[in-house]
């Protein structure tokens, strides 16, 4: 039996023993502390209960659900075009990226394909959603460790990305721009040149953060060797995105997936890191942001002409069938298991959101860590509450 299997079994035992969430102080055997639901260091209303022995965590439990909005139920009473409005709000920092897999799933069942120009613009906006999302992560990372400066740079530079998204879609956070068969609108005049300038700014921001944070001795001391996840455990918990690639698993749906986005038409690389610790997760995200700016630049250069909307019926009915479409979203793999019965709306939608699986590893990961490391580990896992609770 390997060490990781033993650790997993130990976790299962602990879960069985502590089936209930204990919020009382148990002074005889250690202390139970609560982080959240409103603790400023938990990115929203996530609650973590940790039992301590001195400064070490004996066991920890995550209590999600403070932001559960029941999107899976709501999709069952809505029509297909109405659902993009809902799914926009799953990962609210990279909204456009949530719409794409849902629309692709509906398109797969309808057997229609968006025209090349729409696919390219979709991919551009998809990557810009990633940049807007991860830039904020890179800024926020410093705050968790006591460095406030990067956060201001992040908000400053993210605003330029949001401006570009707003110029196309009309919405800073919730574009609601993707349509079955294409996009709502074409790019405005002069947008491509502006976007390339913004991408250059983001690359400068990445350099700044790298110099300010990643080379910083304190940052390295707090993240290197902390919160190490082995690849088998990551896969078993269903971790995706940078969290998985930071364990050395070379898997990215933009390259390996079966969906019709334009990522395969440009030149880029998938970054991985062998360490699996907090530093690796942050480092992979930094490289991915740089890589995403390159993807946007290349797609802007090679933007094909033509229509932005395929021929779709005026009233959208999706033929009966099942489809699962997942894309590599900013937080990891987000997928929609769509069951249609040929109606105006879906029969059932299972939303596989990245953060839900990414955070399910927290009880395993926090066992034995020191209290201050809880915060850096949570920050490096990077989750959005809406993406956990849906």
């Amino acid at each position: 039996m390997t060490v990781t299997e033993r650790q997993q079994l130990a976790y299962v035992d602990a879960q069985a023993a502590e089936g209930r969430v204990n919020v009382e102080l148990e002074t005889d055997e250690g202390m139970v502390i609560n982080l959240g639901p409103q603790h400023p260091a938990t990115h929203g209303t996530l609650r973590i209960t940790a039992k301590l022995d001195g400064e070490q965590v004996v066991w920890a439990d995550v209590v999600p659900g403070y932001m559960h909005r029941g999107y899976e139920k709501l999709t069952e009473v809505r029509t297909y075009p109405q659902i993009t409005t809902l799914v926009n709000r799953i990962d609210w920092l990279g909204s456009f990226a949530n719409e794409v897999p849902f629309i692709l799933a509906a398109e797969r069942l309808m057997e229609i394909e968006a025209p090349p120009r729409a696919r390219h613009i979709r991919t551009i906006l998809f990557e810009m959603a990633r940049i807007a999302n991860i830039v904020l992560f890179l800024g926020d990372l410093g705050v968790q460790l006591g460095a406030v400066t990067p956060a201001f740079y992040a908000f400053r530079d993210r605003e330029h990305v949001l401006d570009q998204i707003e110029a196309v879609t009309g919405g800073r956070f919730h574009p609601n721009f993707d349509r079955i068969g294409g996009l709502r609108d074409d790019l405005p005049k002069g947008w491509v040149a502006d976007t390339k300038a913004v991408m250059a700014r983001i690359r400068d921001f990445c350099d700044e953060v790298e110099a300010l944070l990643f080379g910083n001795e304190i940052f390295q001391a707090r993240t290197r060797g902390v919160g190490v996840i082995p690849p088998e455990v990551a896969l078993s918990y269903g971790l995706t995105g940078a969290n998985l690639r930071a364990t050395g698993v070379d898997w990215d749906l933009r390259r390996d997936g079966d969906v019709g986005l334009a990522h395969r038409e440009v030149d880029w690389r998938v970054w991985t890191h062998p360490d699996g610790d907090s530093f690796a997760r942050c480092w992979v995200r930094l490289q991915e942001t740089r890589e995403a700016t390159g993807i946007v630049d290349q797609l802007c250069d090679g933007l094909p002409g033509g229509p932005i909307m395929a021929k779709v019926p005026r009233i959208i009915k999706v033929p009966a069938g099942e489809a699962y479409v997942a894309t590599e979203n900013p937080l990891g793999v987000t997928g929609y298991y769509l069951v249609s019965k040929g109606d105006l709306g879906p029969f059932r939608v299972k939303i596989r959101s990245a953060s839900f699986s990414n955070v399910s590893i927290v009880p395993w990961l926090l066992r034995g860590v020191y209290v201050p490391d809880i915060i850096t580990i949570l920050a490096s896992l990077y989750f959005i509450l809406g993406d956990i609770d849906r």
Binding site: V12, Q15, E76, V77, S236, D256, G321, V339
Partner: protein
């Protein structure tokens, strides 16, 4: 320090991969024998396999160790009963709860005999030449005995998905180390994702969008404003 791989040119896929997807079904059928009740291959995208619920763990185990599907993607359930509350959000939700239609119900890929079906997707992330080899496993769970084996011993990540499925559908996962509420408060009654569970928000307040379908003064009244809503 970083281990990187070049992005392969062109589309990954084609007929070769579809043979591999049929191979997924064949391998699992060989491993499970009579326990396989149905299968489906979606060319270019994936394989579906419906197994008897007694072989649920065995199917996941075969997928994990024989096909290398070590990545746990998701687990959930489908309630195949049509909703007795009406299909759209402006449907009236007044009066007593309508009764659920009698089965058997129309089901999806790989068939189905019962109202509830547990669905789980596993994927292989290690082989780039056969990237995205995956399998969607399904198992029927009879109404009068809503139980199935837990996958937690095989995939730790199944824990939260099974807790969600338990509270949303009322399906018990035997062997789960702590089946308790994950989203809903611990005293919550009912299983919200079952089709006979009404959308409570609509019981409290009618969908405000209903006012939008009132006819304009110059127009003849139309019975159903929905065509306007879905027009893009």
């Amino acid at each position: 320090m970083a281990d990187t791989t070049e992005v392969p040119a062109g589309e990954a896929g084609g007929t070769q991969l579809d043979e591999a997807r049929q191979g997924v079904v064949d391998t699992l059928t060989d491993a499970l024998g009579d326990a396989v009740l149905g299968s489906h291959v979606q060319p270019g995208h994936g394989s579906w396999l419906r197994v008897d619920r007694s072989a649920w763990t065995a199917a996941a185990e075969a997928a994990k160790y024989q096909l290398g599907c070590t990545f746990f993607e998701f687990l959930s359930a489908i309630d195949w009963a049509p909703s007795p509350w009406g299909r759209y959000e402006d449907a009236a939700l007044e009066g007593a709860a309508p009764s659920l239609p009698e089965g058997p119900f129309e089901t999806g890929y790989a068939g189905g005999d019962t109202r509830f079906q547990v669905v789980c997707r596993l994927a292989n992330v290690r082989r780039h030449e056969e990237a995205h080899l995956n399998v969607v496993l399904k198992a029927d769970v009879p109404d009068d005995d809503l139980r199935i084996a837990s996958l937690v011993p095989l995939f730790s990540g199944a824990s939260w998905h099974e807790r969600e499925c338990w509270e949303m559908f009322g399906i018990t996962f035997e062997g789960h180390p702590g089946l308790r509420h994950i989203y809903l408060p611990s005293g919550f009654e009912g299983n919200p994702l079952r089709k006979d569970f009404p959308l409570l928000a609509r019981l409290v307040k009618p969908w405000p969008g209903i006012v939008d379908v009132e006819p304009m003064p110059d127009e003849p009244p139309s019975g159903d404003g929905r065509t306007e809503e879905v027009a893009e």
